[in-house]
Amino acid sequence: MSILVDENTRVVVQGLTGREGRFHAEQMMKYGTKVVAGVTPGKGGAEVLGVDVYDSVAEAVEATGANCSIVFVPAPFAADAACEAADAGVRLVVVITEHIPVRDMLMLKSFFRARGTLLVGPNCPGVISPGKCKVGIMPGYIHRPGTVGVISRSGTLTYEVVHQLSAAGLGQSTCIGIGGDPVIGLDFVELLKMFADDPQTEAVCLIGEIGGDAEERAAEVVARGYPKPVFGFVAGLSAPPGKRMGHAGAIISGGKGRAEDKLKAMEAAGIKVIRELGRFGEIVAETLRKK
């Protein structure tokens, strides 16, 4: 098992004819992901990387049985593209695009809720179940199949953590970059619940950062009793208030969203907090060995 994506995931790439879409579709195919279709309105009938391109997601789903979409569409059109995928009936939509207006995201989320479609992102590296399927832009080779689940708000920081876990002999069940924006799809809380029910996953790592209260809400879930060990890291202890640190969602505002408060909430909930990023993999491995 694993969560969200596996051997049965059939991916349609929205924006396959663009530079980014094409590059990452090729990387995904090399990793073994079943990329079954591309969608670019107006380019239906074309073929990219041996994959048929359709004018609409509905056509692509009808023709190929795609059950997952990855969106590489530019920000002004990305929310529309994602909603089209939800309407066509795919189960999971992964949005890589950065800089989608927040108002679009609010509208998108109510559209998704009405259809029960799962969303990962936007502004994220995507999802990977090592050895099975990669729906994202992360470097595949740093991952190893295994039993640790990883949920993160960041891109390269996730790679850093995964690289350390793999080096410490710990493979991963599924790694999800949930995105750095203020309004996102699946969050720590929902994914923690999915990992709790996944028999392959034996421990979960939460990689947070300043801004919002996602880490505090995750801590509440763990505090109520969680069946697996949880490890936590939060970036931005040295970040000044009121300044956006790269990600649109990474901002300490009105005294809320500080890293120290998040770490305290995590510790109080029984999450093993790791402050030294350089030793993250090592500490997780040591702790799990002792259990």
Binding site: I100, R103, M107
Partner: protein, 387 residues
Amino acid sequence: MNIHEYQAKELLKDFGVPVPEGAVAATPDEARAIAESLGGPVVVKAQVHAGGRGKAGGIKLAGDPDEAEKVASEILGMRLVTAQSGAEGKLVRKVLVERATQIERELYAAVVLDRTRECLTVMASPEGGMEIEEVARTHPERIFTTHVLPGAQLWPFQGRGLMLACGLDARTAARAAAVLKSMVALAWEKEATLVEVNPLVVDSSGQLVALDAKMNFDDSALFRHPEIAALADPEEADPLEREAAAMGLNYVRLGGNVGTMVNGAGLAMATMDVIKMAGAEPANFLDVGGGASEEMITKGFEIILSDPNVKAILINIFGGILRCDVLARGVVAAAGRLEVSLPMVVRLEGTNVEEGRRILAESGLKFDVAASMAEAAAKIARLVGGK
């Protein structure tokens, strides 16, 4: 994106919210002329992007045009150091001169984009004029809230409910509810993440007036609101941050002396944190992007080197899809071309890392290569004399 008070008030006025009559002045003469045309006492207010202006001496009352000219000459050109401006303060280039309002009562009103509830949250409090964070800490029971679903309006009953809770009589509450409804309409239409009126005043004739206003807009939505984008005041940003933004880099200037260059925002924040834990202070946050190119690295060096406080540079790159050998060549080329003379610690990890480290070692430049983030931080702390 933030805008000035006078700009926020113009927007409020467009949406039907009453604001004091007034105009903006860049010279004491202009301030005098505005006071003359208004007649009677006026308030002269420094226009900078920082709260706490009153306490810092940036807001003054003037009884007549002579006095308006005098206080404007004092405020214009001053460096206003407020609780939110940073130690260097903000240079005042413009003042807002407006008719003084007879204040009967001060309230707080705001519409914020609520990322947790995924809606707009409308807030009101009878504690007008205070910072809302302070009220939240000392009297959280005196803040009243209601929510508006995406795209929906604020129903009059919701607004009246908030204002009755704040202690207004039914008639005034209905007027105040109309103000809240306009603020919600403005927030949706212009894609604001914050529309704050503090204080929202009931004047001596029972009318509502937005006495001060603060707004923040979604940067990602500015492409469909050119009229909002045009309100940006480049003078308000740190000059280096402005230059970095023009180059497409995410740069935030901090107080320390260790320049940092990292690919990816989360890793960049974590790198600042390990520097601090090692006993040194980061000079900046700099994200050159998940797939940093040689061009971006060169630009990154240029920005870091323009900060005179920087004594050493830590480069932390996790090569993913982009290979470490390509990145190392970029770092060597950029450092060589710019003749960087400061000590540099480079930590490379990821695809083709061995080749990358070899390129750095053989470059003849003064790179100190670190194998891990912890080692890199310890080395950089020693270089700048940390613990």
